[in-house]
Amino acid sequence: MNDSVVAQMVVSGALMGLVYALIAYGFQLTYATSKSINFGQGELVMVSAFICLSLTNLGLPYPVMVPLGLFCGSLLGLFVERSGVRLALEQKSEGWILLTIIIGLLFFSVSENIWGRDDRPFPTPIPSDAIQLFGISVTPVEISVAVGVFMIMGIIELFKRKTLLGKAFEAVSADRDAAELMGISATKTIMLSYSLSGMVAALAGILVAPITTVGPTMASALVLKAFSVAVVAGLDSGFGVVVIGLFLGALESLTSYYVGSGWREAPGLVLLILALAIRPTGVFGAAVIRKV
């Protein structure tokens, strides 16, 4: 086995891993405020990608299409929050797990019927001819994934750390009652987190679509790996998802090379079950105290 081939595998796998990290980041955003995540996040990625494809087909240029697509993503996120999450949170039940799965299923079926079951190419102005960097060939599309992921995560992290609204976000996750006493509405904060999460999902769809093509099932494998990344890293560590995402992406591409491409999903899943068994709060997560 040739070292450079391995390096090639690792790099392109890791770049894909960043997409997992981005979707996982979407889980973290909502988990932080409400301890809930959208199990239908993959469908948000897919629906957003389809919407963007339709927008492009309408003749909108890429720079216009992207913000519009992100906007639609955040609207979808809000829809999920309102219909699937809020009631369950008010009743302090875990009904949101099933409800978000159900809403995902609805999205899936609707887009299957609107856009059809076939995979379609996603046009992008970014060229896909490989270029050589340090002896490893990468495509500009892959680089755009990395740039996009780091950009949006950077922006959101800046928002969380540097703006008052962002700090309010963390306040709600630290102590919901106390945040309410400061005049921070927990419901609105949770809505905001879901819309941000939807936006992140939309961006993931836009970035990954040129590579995977667009189809109803485009995100079902992605989202499973994103689950793994989110859980292995811990549902509260933004830094962790990037590290684990890169690692898992690389591991996966090596697995598919050595064991067989059908097995490429396996390491993420095994990793997830193992991580949960050994450290339920995740590698980078904080421990919890039981209270009576």
């Binding site: 079926s109 859980v231 059908g262």
Partner: protein, 657 residues
Amino acid sequence: MLKRLFLILGVEALLLVVLAVIPLTVNNSFVLGLLTLLAIYGILLIGLDITVGYLGQVNLAQAAFLGLGAYTAALTVTRFGFGMPAALIAAAAVGCLFGGALSFPALRLEGPQFALSTLSFMALTTTALNEWESLTGGAQGLQVPRPPLFGVMLGPKGFYWLCLILLVFVWIAMRNLLSSQWGRAFEALRDSPIATDAMGIGTLRNKAAAFTLGSGLGGLAGGLYAFNFQYLQPQVFVYDLMVILLLGVVLGGRKSLWGAFVGATIVVLLPNLLSSRILFQAFSGLGFLLALTAGIRGFVTKTTRPFQAVAPVVAMGMLVVGGIFTSNTEDWRKAIFALMLFAVMVGLPEGLMGFAASFLTRLFRIPPPELPEPVPLDEVLVKKVTDGGPLLELLDLKHYFGGVRAVDGVTLTISSGAIHGLIGPNGSGKSTLVNVISGLYAPTSGGILLHGKPLAKGSLFKVAQRGLSRTFQNLQLFSELSALDNVMVAMKGIYRSPLPLVLLGLTRKNERRAQIDALTLLKMVGLMDDCRVPAKDLPYGAQRFLEIARALARRPDLLILDEPAAGLAQPDITRLLQIIRRIHDRGITIILIEHHMDVVSELCNIVTVLDHGKIIAEGEPGEVKRHPKVIEAYLGGTVEPAGQQYIEQGNIVPVPA
């Protein structure tokens, strides 16, 4: 009693007879196929209901267990030439095996993490079935001949009867299990895992047992599935099937064998329902009307939130409108499932059977089962001999939360036979101290001895098994269970019944004894008449007493009462005093944490006063009350130069006895 038996068993027997006779009268292979599938899905959903209903966790792996069972049965027949019984046993065993293996990592988790780990397992199984082509034939599929049953080749009717018989066995075994201590423990886990641990019922092992059992049933159903279709493809055992299964359980009604059966019926009939447009329109119209009436009713009586009333109507309305405009309902299968599930989840969370059960019980006035008579308290709480020697010793115990020193070096001896009061202002560390003793928190440093031997640190479960029982300041009752069941849950460690005997229904005697004991304890705290009331519906004072009765069910040597009088009105306090005295009479040592000084003076022979995590005084109630430091800690009395006082605070100043 007779009426109850007759109605419930009668309906079940009638249904069984009808199901068994249909193939003799209707000679239609399509109907027979549906019935067979109904029996198989019945077993599968009963298994799924154990985790989803009783444990209250979203289990997304049941379809995987079905697949594993199916492939196991198929492969044992094709590769090793197993007969049908051996193959089915192997299928169930593989289900149990994988379920057990998955349960240990997965069940330490709650809620979303549990759902995720089962989802991963599901995906992993699909991958393996697809990719391990040498074994499973991959996407090509696998032919399975139906093996003989004890030398007899079963035709479609024979096989159907086999499935039905197995369903009946599973049904009976599950009813035995779920009405036993095990079933109660499963439910208790959902309400308060902390309390189950504190009652000495291992949370993890019970959860694991439940999950393993449910998975085993999944495996068994899988075996039957394989021999029914005689052809397997991995594409069947995927996410979609799992959603349909969940639909079945939720729609049928959780925590109910009937619910699982109704759910299975729906799952079997749905595909046929969707294939005819007229049928679908009629069905969705019916659903819409149902949602509308329920919604309006909820709106008028204000029993539900607006969203709960409106959302199901919108969802069912979409079904109706969709039914009119789409030509091919089959294409919209998933959306239809989703809308139906959504409407039920939001509007009818207890499912069809949950709804029907409460309705039918009222309609026929079915009386609850009769209860045995309680016995004298002596027989339940045998008087313990106390010698006044040290029972519990704390050695320089410390517990810090971040920068806050909640317990800051406590050395204390509780002598056997005492009622030892523990008082102090809010935030003085009393509750933290008992949380450390009872194993909820592991201490930062220091030692704890019970009967002179070190006590396990940081494990409620192990501490409870050593004969220490407690109540909680913020009640930790199993709120959905009746008062009687709350106490009986705690007896699980006393009357042990092995799982196989329970399944066969051979442990009724133990069950009866536990019931008598529990009733006796409830009588002592004055809750005999309320024993069927769910704990959450009891008045507040009664809930406090129920917690005490539950703590006694373990027949502890040492009972810790954490603010039992908090929030009680005067008549209840008087009753509480009586109860505590009676418990003390049985030779049970008591640590009493209390704010009501009058309660403490009335009961305790010795009182320890805590402030800032340290002991500031100890002695008889009368002395302690006069102690200047105590008065100061409570009244915030006149203050000497602050610095000096602070230094003095560092020393433990015991009151000369």
